[in-house]
């Protein structure tokens, strides 16, 4: 879309159709269409954008309505029937509209917008109204135009916010209609570990939920979990379609990214082998996420489902022992590296590298806690860092009986990446937090940590991450006594031998890949997950696993993966719908009380019963956002 001729996006009318030379007016923020698709016009949930005189608006409108009808649920009297009437009256063979007919249709649209039951019906018809209002002549005096081709995409604020782009309104509607198995099936299309994600996800979708504007977001994560829990009771199997393919794919790292890729590739019929360094699969999900948030049986169950698809899993196969050449010689045509980022980053303070007892790396600690031989409990633990790993370390220490657990963070709460409920629950469990404090020197005595010297900070200008940069307050040094200091400020991948075989790293120490194909410099070798993106959330890693599987499939079939439409620059939450939404708070789930929590690693958060889930699902406003592009 180069020059803007007309736009009604968000209801602001920009009309350059009469201008001699179409001004290079700024286009509204629009989704990015895959390259090589010239666009004449776009009709989207929030308006109409025209960039080419050749655009055929009535045709585009008809196409838009056809697509729109597919999304209308028909559960209220106005939306679908209204769309049907519009389709009927705007059909080329329909009797001429006339000015009166036209204004009737506009009133109809207004009525549908204010009386529809869900957010979809309330917003979907605005662009049609714009077309009728600003391209009146084309509707009143239809002219024969060359046929166009079309491209249409559906998303939703929650869907777009989700790294894996789950059809969230879709699976919520299925739950509402008492169809958990179907719902789970839909979830699995883009999230192979629903039970895990339903518990351990940071749920960016909920932050994007339109309901935030009225009361509070849908409990999307818990609904996903409800669907997964339902299945636990009933059981399913993941299918592998015939025909089997002969190509073998090796995947290094049975973490979320590796498991996802394995499942997708297996589902396409490839023979997949997973190499896992640790004694059990799961990667960060098992090593990083404490059982009180993600019970192990859930993870095991979902990994077993993948294994039962026929994925070969080899554990205790450390990265160091693997090489591309060997794997190639074993007949693997493609390799996917998803080793994650398990190497704790140094704080960079004095005395850090003395190897003093009591100084621990956060992820290593968690790994030990959950899989190996945990270090003996201490009297006091200081955790450095403000992320969820820091939280996990702190809460795990509490559970291991450490009397005094304190977190040190160099910025303030606003900049803290940890999730609110994580922090709240930690504080409930007695964890204290010291903001605007940075460690500068590790104090030791005869090889043991005795304390840490800290400096107070204040917030300066925002840095590249958009968060305000902490600035030291000179002369504010003070000392905190402790026998354990845990560094939890981030991780990076560890892949010694593979590096020598031609992998290149980025500045931030992650594996360099082609952003579209995820292929590394070495043909046939792909990488994804934390080892590419740096520490990220599970669903993000899984999404990358899926994409990797996609492009590995393409690579092995000699095709090139299509680039999906990106809704990144678009604000989907704001719609022109102005209907009333009755406030209704989300259904609550029981939490294990703080006292019992501290004593054990058993799951803290309860789940929804089926009726509760159906009730909560009813709150969904079904904010599907439809885009239809007209291309030559």
């Amino acid at each position: 879309m180069e020059t803007l001729r007309f736009s009604s996006w968000d209801g602001t009318i920009v009309d350059h159709r009469q201008a001699a030379s179409p001004a290079a007016a700024a286009l509204p923020a629009l989704p990015q269409v895959p390259e090589g698709a010239p666009v004449h016009a776009l009709m989207g949930f929030n308006g109409l954008v025209v960039t080419d005189p050749a655009a055929d608006i009535p045709a585009l409108t008809r196409r838009y309505l056809t697509e729109a009808r597919k999304l209308s649920c028909g559960e209220c009297a106005v939306c679908m029937i209204g769309i049907d009437q519009l389709i009927e009256r705007l059909a080329p063979e329909a009797s001429p509209l006339g000015a009166r007919g036209l204004s009737e249709l506009k009133t109809l649209i207004d009525q549908v917008a204010v009386t529809s039951k869900c957010g979809y019906g309330q917003s979907v018809l605005f662009p049609v109204r714009d077309a009728l209002s600003y391209f009146t002549d084309e509707f009143l005096h239809p002219a024969a135009r060359p046929a166009h081709s079309y491209l249409s995409e559906v998303t939703a604020p929650c869907t777009a916010a989700c790294p894996a782009h789950l059809d969230i309104p879709g699976y919520i509607e299925l739950i509402r209609n008492d169809k958990c198995p179907a719902s789970l099936e839909l979830i699995r299309e883009r999230c192979i570990l629903p039970g895990v994600i339903g518990r351990a996800c940071t749920a960016p979708c909920e932050a994007a939920c339109v309901r935030n504007a009225f009361d509070e977001p849908l409990a999307i994560r818990l609904l996903k979990r409800a669907a997964a829990d339902y299945e636990l009771g009933h059981g399913t199997a993941l299918s592998v379609p015939a025909p089997e393919r002969r190509e073998k794919v090796a995947i290094i790292g049975a973490g979320p990214a590796g498991l996802s890729a394995a499942a997708r590739l297996r589902a396409r019929g490839y023979r997949v082998t997973l190499f896992e360094a640790m004694a059990c699969p799961g990667g960060m999900a098992v090593a990083g996420i404490p059982p009180y948030r993600l019970p192990r049986d859930i993870l095991t169950h979902e990994i077993d489902l993948i294994r039962r698809m026929g994925v070969e899993l080899i554990v205790n196969a450390p990265v160091e022992t693997l090489s591309m050449k060997e794997l190639a010689s074993q007949g693997f045509q493609a390799l996917f590296i998803a080793v994650g980022a398990h190497q704790g980053i140094r704080i960079g303070m004095e005395g850090e590298d003395t190897g003093a007892a009591g100084y621990l790396d956060g992820v290593a600690l968690l790994r030990e806690l959950h899989l190996g031989t945990p270090p003996p409990p201490s009297r006091k633990a200081l955790i450095v860092g403000g992320g969820n790993v820091a939280m996990d370390c702190a809460r795990s220490c509490v559970r291991r009986g450490v009397k005094e657990v304190e977190i040190i963070y160099r910025r303030s709460r606003a900049e803290m990446p940890a999730r609110d409920e994580e922090l709240r629950e930690a504080q409930e469990e007695g964890v204290t937090i010291r903001f605007l404090t940075a460690p500068v020197k590790l104090l030791t005595a005869d090889g043991r940590v005795t304390g840490v010297e800290c400096r107070a900070m204040k917030l300066g200008a925002p840095d590249e991450s958009g968060r305000r940069r902490p600035v030291p307050v000179t002369g504010s040094e003070f000392t905190l006594a402790t026998d354990t200091l845990i560094a939890a400020i981030g991780q990076r991948p560890l892949l010694p031998r593979l590096l020598d075989e031609g992998l290149s790293l980025t500045a931030s120490g992650t594996v360099a890949v082609d952003p579209v194909t995820l292929m590394t410099g070495v043909p046939g070798v792909f990488a994804g997950g934390d080892c590419v993106s740096g520490p990220a959330i599970l669903i993000e890693a899984m999404a990358m696993g899926d994409r990797a599987a996609e492009s590995i499939d393409c690579y092995l079939r000699g095709a090139r993966p299509g680039m999906p439409v990106s809704f990144a620059p678009v604000t989907l939450a704001a719609s022109r719908g102005r209907a009333f939404v009755a406030p209704e708070p989300a259904a609550r789930v029981p939490l294990l009380d703080a006292g019992r929590r501290k004593a054990s690693f058993s799951e803290v958060e309860g789940g929804y019963s089926a009726p509760e889930a159906m009730k909560e699902a009813r709150r969904c406003l079904r904010c599907y956002r439809l885009y239809v592009w007209q291309t030559p």
Partner: protein
């Protein structure tokens, strides 16, 4: 408690009361097709629209699904309300022109139904049967089919699960249009195209309930099947 003003009457109501209930307390007539006092509101028919004012501006809202909030102002007879009800009625009529329940509802909001050729018994997707089956009977034999991206169904329909249905017929009873039909003859009952075997009353011999239904009752109450085979008038 929430204090509201509805058409000029001030009233204090417990939280959670719907605007429709509030209106009925004051004998304010509001047309509905999908509402039943014993079932969860569903908001399908859109005939019960009213205007509410909570944050300084009047907005249309479906009275059956809108709970009263403190300070809420409600008007049920404004021009906007009338117009929206009439549009809902017109749309319903355009899809179900021969369904008496729809025609009657249209008349109540001042929309004249088209001349009728035949009498139809359409499913108007009011969801009364779905909710009755779920909330009153508790077997979920009826559900809406979902629609959305990649799940393109031509027409939304209510899905019948023969495996769950116990043949109690409550859906046929609650159906406002007569679309759900239930036929009986001798020891058989036909509903939703599923045939049920009826159990005769041990006292009067009358076929009074489907075996499936009695089995279900026996299961949820723990009462032995044999004790359930006497009809209500012989008990």
């Amino acid at each position: 408690m929430a204090t509201i003003v509805i058409d000029g009457h001030t009233d204090e109501l417990p939280e959670g009361t719907t605007v429709l209930e509030a209106a009925r307390r004051h004998h304010i007539a509001i047309p509905t097709l999908c509402h039943h006092p014993d079932l969860t509101p569903f908001g399908a028919c859109r005939l019960c629209m009213v205007e509410v004012k909570t944050d300084g501006r009047w907005q249309l809202a479906a009275s059956c699904t809108t709970p009263v909030t403190d300070g809420m102002k409600i008007r049920t007879d404004s021009a906007a309300v009338k117009k929206s009800r009439q549009y809902a009625a017109r749309l319903l009529l355009s899809r179900y022109p021969t369904t008496e329940a729809v025609r009657a509802a249209a008349r109540t909001v001042g929309v004249a139904p088209p001349p009728r050729e035949t009498e139809g018994h359409d499913c108007i997707l009011c969801g009364l049967c779905v909710r009755t089956c779920r909330e009153i009977v508790g077997v979920n034999a009826l559900t809406f089919q979902d629609r959305g991206p990649g799940r393109a169904l031509d027409e939304p329909v209510i899905e019948f699960r023969p495996t769950s249905c116990i043949g109690c017929g409550s859906c046929a009873y609650v159906c406002p249009t007569g679309y759900i039909r239930m036929e009986e003859g001798g020891d058989k009952r036909l509903i939703w195209d599923k045939v049920f075997t009826m159990v005769p009353c041990t006292v009067c011999g009358r076929y009074f309930a489907p075996a499936d239904q009695l089995r279900y009752i026996s299961r949820i109450t723990g009462v032995p099947f044999s004790e359930l085979t006497t009809c209500t008038s012989c008990r």
